[in-house]
Subunit: 334 residues, 2 copies
Amino acid sequence: MRIDKNTIYFDNPVSIYSTSSIVGPIESKSKYRNYFDERVDDDMFGEKSYEKAECKFQIRAIQQLLNNAGLYIDNIDLSISGDLINQIAVSSFATRSLNLPFIGVYNACASLGEALFLGASLIDSGNYNNITCTTSSHFASAERQYRFPLELGNQKTPTSQWTVTGAGSILLSTMNNKTKIKGATLGTITDYGVIDVNNMGAAMAPAVYTTLLKHFEETGRDADYYDCIITGDLGKFGSSLLKQLLSKDNIQLSNHFDCGAMIYGDNKKAIQGGSGAGCCSVMFGGYFYKLLQKKQINKVLFMPTGALLSKDTSLQGETIPSISHAIIIENDEE
Amino acid sequence: MRIDKNTIYFDNPVSIYSTSSIVGPIESKSKYRNYFDERVDDDMFGEKSYEKAECKFQIRAIQQLLNNAGLYIDNIDLSISGDLINQIAVSSFATRSLNLPFIGVYNACASLGEALFLGASLIDSGNYNNITCTTSSHFASAERQYRFPLELGNQKTPTSQWTVTGAGSILLSTMNNKTKIKGATLGTITDYGVIDVNNMGAAMAPAVYTTLLKHFEETGRDADYYDCIITGDLGKFGSSLLKQLLSKDNIQLSNHFDCGAMIYGDNKKAIQGGSGAGCCSVMFGGYFYKLLQKKQINKVLFMPTGALLSKDTSLQGETIPSISHAIIIENDEE
């Protein structure tokens, strides 16, 4: 039922029936390591290119998802997936082998939010029973596409982040599970004029800020309604900017968690923390979903964050637009 | 209501309330020229780069759509758009100025099919009233990204096509209009092992073939049910391959139209015809929709076609996967 411009609620139950997460070598040293389904020691994953390796991460994430859910590929109606690689080639090639109807999405690192919104809408429509929502990223494929070849050995700047190598998949289903997607507030593109491509946190914090204010306004809720407000990959610096922006509206987030700021802990190599479309998918699928299932948390606003730049737009002097969709995830009350 | 794996029907009416089309200089010489809303003489559109020009094409297509529909931007709930440029940057930057919730899609030149499926599903769900579905392409931005800089003056090969410079937008709405989206058969990724990046028609014809057979099987319809079966951008060579594939199943398409084969007519410069995500959006929005509105045709199966390669996947020796979604468009019976 539509209530206003950006927020919708789903009339029919949309369960998050299962999740999966698979990560690379550096992520395998994370303090959340034991939450991930699979940890891969070799960032090439036995493949000949970083892109093919990332593709394998996605395939394994979906296979693991099926294992976790006790389903076969034939039980899946539709695959919605996205990644950061040009023409989302990783998602296309991963889905190629699965013989599933394919919906490719791109909202950069907010693609998982977009996928969950679309998947939940399609389940809600009554036309689909089981939909996989999958996103991935890979440190090395992202570095060479967006920045420089690793072989150059470039230094990272103080506000930069470390792209997560990994893939996570989420199964949306009509099959009952206490953890459900109840609604969503869609983001609009926000651009505060940031031009530093090594400061994604600054580019994306305003998108979270905008969507969050809209969410509170349209739902009548405040931050305390949720046990956790989880952002995708603002990183530590971006998270502090979000708090500054919100403080102007006298909003304090005591329950804010950022997947990017969390995943690498105090690992100095990651500077401000993790990023990439795989960051929030492995952290939500691996960690937060398990807290929800154990009822250690019950109400979550999940806000993947995406910077909608390309290498060309930056070279052509454009600022960095960003977007964040907020997904309302709650356990059924008993 | 779900009937089977790939085909769904919409329970609620989803009108195609309006369309728009805007094309570049070469397309302005097309025999369909008078069907397009706007013809632009300058392929730079007064901008400093091809990418910015393509962005302006998208913005103008949506503005023209609003004009044609008699609506304001505030009446639009959601923008679903896609293009071929890395990170679909054209769509992101075009939508940035519109302040609309944004869903970025990528299925290459099949993105319009994906957008129409998603838009119609969201209208059908009852949560949205007016959704724009927009795709674009630009000859020069596509050439330099996928192939070579224009300045090199490379010759085109005999099976190559010419990327359409243009953008088209389609307004899906709960407002009544006789032309409606009744359902869709989603495509799965098909790969017959084609590796020639200058032969998109050969890569994509099998995707149409696969989706079409599935559509006939699942709906119980045959080709004659439709007045027109419209494919996106197979081109002349790809269209002949499609007929060969279908002839093995004793299916003859007497009502097949390919937007790519049509748009440039006998213009030798275009070799096998048009291509690009803007090809089917300007031809459907500009031409076929008007035939539907005049009831010269009443039942259409619209099948945008996409080749899911990237420059990197080809350089890494991959074959070219492709996809085609079939959208069922019919006029209400009187």
